[in-house]
């Protein structure tokens, strides 16, 4: 190993001596910055991942929509299911309802499902926590868990449904609600959907919204490994021009862009923590250069070149970066591993567990770390730490040995 690397390592991590203050503070500051980035981006990524998974779980990888309504959905389903890469397609009708149970109203989302095909796209059966999906018919509904709880309606209870269509009827006509039985409760695991959704048959939804046999769109599930964009293009080739297939990323492009923007902004802001750590490393290295002036003179007297002396100090910045980043990654992933225990402990102390679930729409703190994010964190920490070593290194390299020796 070249002497400047050897001496840099020995000055950072001397054997048989107390851990130097400079090393401890510098490594700790970089580690905290990196750990903060890992934790925040991991949790932000987790939220994004959960939302993406929720979209794919409940809407399929491809959404088919028309300008207006989709007529003859059976024929569309047949054509779409014949496209390579498609595992199944299911038509749906969606909208907002007013429901009432014992004079307690709610305004949930409605999801009308084609019972013959829905399981090929969304595995709803496995989400049913009470009652049965098989019991769902044109006179019954399944409620999301949150809605059932807020209305206090039991399995077998009767719910009254009002639709916007009823408002459009003439003034003197009495608006009669549609009465349906509650045959099940469903919990998907996503707070947003579980809080307020009514699931009914496609036919009931079509009746409630006056759609006749038309539907609002189709959800398409792909075979494993199929590419959304490629399959969407293939589907568009077999559909009439007024009906278009979009990959879930295109359908929710604006929302996904906002999610990505939030994450990028968070990364940008938190990188300043690492930048501050790099400034701290630089100022400590500058102090070290002043402290080691006579040693720099000695190295010059022993025959070391200025470039080698500069490298010795620059490598200390790199060393702080490498060890600080490694420690930060370890700390960050440890915090991420115990994130829910930590959150539960904090919310137990503050009593905000329910609020957290309601506000963030997830009962557990999610985590998903993208390799790309990790790469950016590691590269940024290493580059900033190396840059932090450059100014002290230049200063050390510029010292003339004779002036350094005279400094006593």
């Amino acid at each position: 190993m070249p002497w400047y690397l050897y001496l840099a390592l020995k000055q950072l991590f001397p054997t048989g001596r107390r851990f130097p203050f400079f090393t401890a503070i510098s490594v700790l500051s970089v580690a905290l910055g990196v750990a903060l980035l890992v934790v925040v981006l991991g949790v932000m990524g987790g939220f994004g991942y959960q939302i993406r998974r929720m979209i794919v779980d409940t809407e399929g990888e491809i959404q088919i929509k028309a300008r207006g309504l989709v007529a003859d959905s059976r024929s569309v389903v047949k054509r779409v299911e014949a496209v390579p890469g498609v595992a199944g397609a299911s038509p749906y009708a969606a909208g907002i309802l007013m429901v009432q149970y014992q004079n307690k109203p709610a305004f949930p989302q409605m999801r009308g499902l084609d019972m013959a095909s829905v399981e090929r796209v969304v595995p709803l059966g496995k989400f049913v926590t009470a009652g049965s999906l098989d019991a769902l018919d044109d006179d019954s509904v399944i409620l999301s868990e949150g809605l059932a709880e807020s209305l206090g309606v039991p399995i077998g209870g009767t719910l009254e449904i009002y639709t916007p269509l009823m408002l459009a009827r003439k003034d003197l006509e009495v608006i009669l609600p549609h009465s349906v039985r509650v045959v099940g409760v469903l919990r998907i695991g996503h707070q947003q959907l579980d809080s307020s959704t009514v699931y009914c048959t496609l036919r009931l939804a079509q009746d409630l919204y006056g759609l006749a046999r038309d539907v609002h769109g189709l959800n398409v599930r792909l075979k494993p490994g199929a590419n959304e964009d490629e399959v969407a293009a293939r589907i568009n080739a077999v559909l009439p021009p007024n009906i278009r297939a979009f990959s879930w990323m295109d359908s929710f492009a604006d929302f996904l862009w906002i999610l990505q923007l939030e994450k990028n902004m968070m990364m940008f802001v938190l990188l300043f923590v690492v930048l501050v750590a790099a400034f701290l490393t630089m100022s400590l290295l500058l102090v070290l250069v002043l402290k080691k002036t006579r040693e720099i003179g000695l190295l010059g007297a022993l025959g070391a070149s200025r470039r080698q002396i500069a490298l010795c100090f620059c490598l200390q910045g790199v060393g702080v970066g490498v060890v600080g980043t490694a420690a930060g990654l370890a700390l960050g992933f440890t915090v991420l591993h115990f994130r829910n225990d930590l959150v539960h402990a904090i919310t137990r102390l503050t009593g905000g567990q329910e609020l957290l679930a309601r506000f963030y729409q997830f009962s557990e703190l999610p985590e998903h770390t993208e390799p790309r994010d990790l790469l950016v964190i590691v590269v940024a920490a290493l580059v900033l730490s190396t840059l932090a070593g450059i100014i002290p290194a230049v200063m050390a390299g510029r010292l003339k040995p004779v002036e350094a020796l005279r400094s006593e």
């Binding site: 190993m1 070249p2 002497w3 050897y6 001496l7 020995k10 000055q11 001397p14 048989g16 001596r17 006579r294 040693e295 003179g297 000695l298 190295l299 010059g300 007297a301 022993l302 025959g303 070391a304 070149s305 080698q308 003339k400 040995p401 004779v402 020796l405 005279r406 006593e408």
Partner: protein, 218 residues
């Protein structure tokens, strides 16, 4: 090509002092032969250390030349093998133990091998520190530190040893032991020695004694 290990001709060196320049060396001629020991005495500020820095190639003269074995190349790369330097303040690297401090002189030239390690251990034995080679400088006495510095100066088998008041920070007895060591090793290894000292007794033990006064040898 001169036979002298070190030769200097007409060395002039001045430093800025306020709005004028203070002339420290005023045309010094100097030569040291192989294996010769030369002492340089002089009052504080007489230019002894400045002369030593010029001879070591650590500083450049305003006028005059320095040559090692007749060659004007006194750059860092040649310095590592041609000369050893012993300082008043030892200048050991505090993070390295005695053995690694000695090895540092070789390490600057190349990653040290088994032969370098054996030589460093041998030198430490010869300066009487065989049992202290794993000790950090902070755990060594002043005399022991200077002995490590002497071993380090000899590590690359230099042709010339420059010692700048090597006993200045030591008590009389320890200082005398260091001078014994320097002269003994110089004779044993046929290394030329230039010893800068205030101490007349130490200076008189060298084969040639010089006195620097007002920037010139008397």
């Amino acid at each position: 090509m001169s036979d002298a290990v070190l030769s200097a001709r007409g060395l002039v060196k001045s430093f800025p002092s306020g709005d004028r320049r203070l002339e420290v060396l005023r045309g010094v001629d100097f030569e040291v032969g192989a294996g010769e020991t030369v002492s340089i005495r002089g009052e504080s500020g007489s230019g002894k250390s400045t002369l030593l820095h010029l001879l070591a190639g650590l500083d450049t003269p305003d006028a005059g030349t320095v040559a090692w074995s007749g060659s004007p190349d006194t750059g860092a790369a040649r310095r590592a093998t041609y000369l050893g330097f012993v300082f008043q303040s030892f200048y050991l690297i505090p993070e390295l133990d005695a053995l690694q401090n000695v090895l540092m002189a070789a390490r600057i030239l190349r990653p040290p091998g088994a032969a370098d390690l054996a030589r460093a251990k041998d030198l430490l034995s010869r300066v009487g520190l065989a049992e202290r080679q794993r000790h950090l400088p902070a755990h060594l006495s002043g005399g022991e530190r200077q002995r490590v510095a002497v071993a380090r100066a000899l590590m690359n088998s230099p042709r010339l040893l420059l010692a700048d008041e090597p006993t200045g920070n030591l008590d009389e007895q320890t200082g005398a032991a260091i001078i014994d060591l320097l002269l003994g090793l110089s004779a044993e290894t046929k290394t030329a020695l230039v010893l800068v000292t205030h101490n007349l007794a130490h200076a008189s033990r060298c084969t040639r004694q010089l006195r620097l006064h007002l920037g010139r040898f008397e």
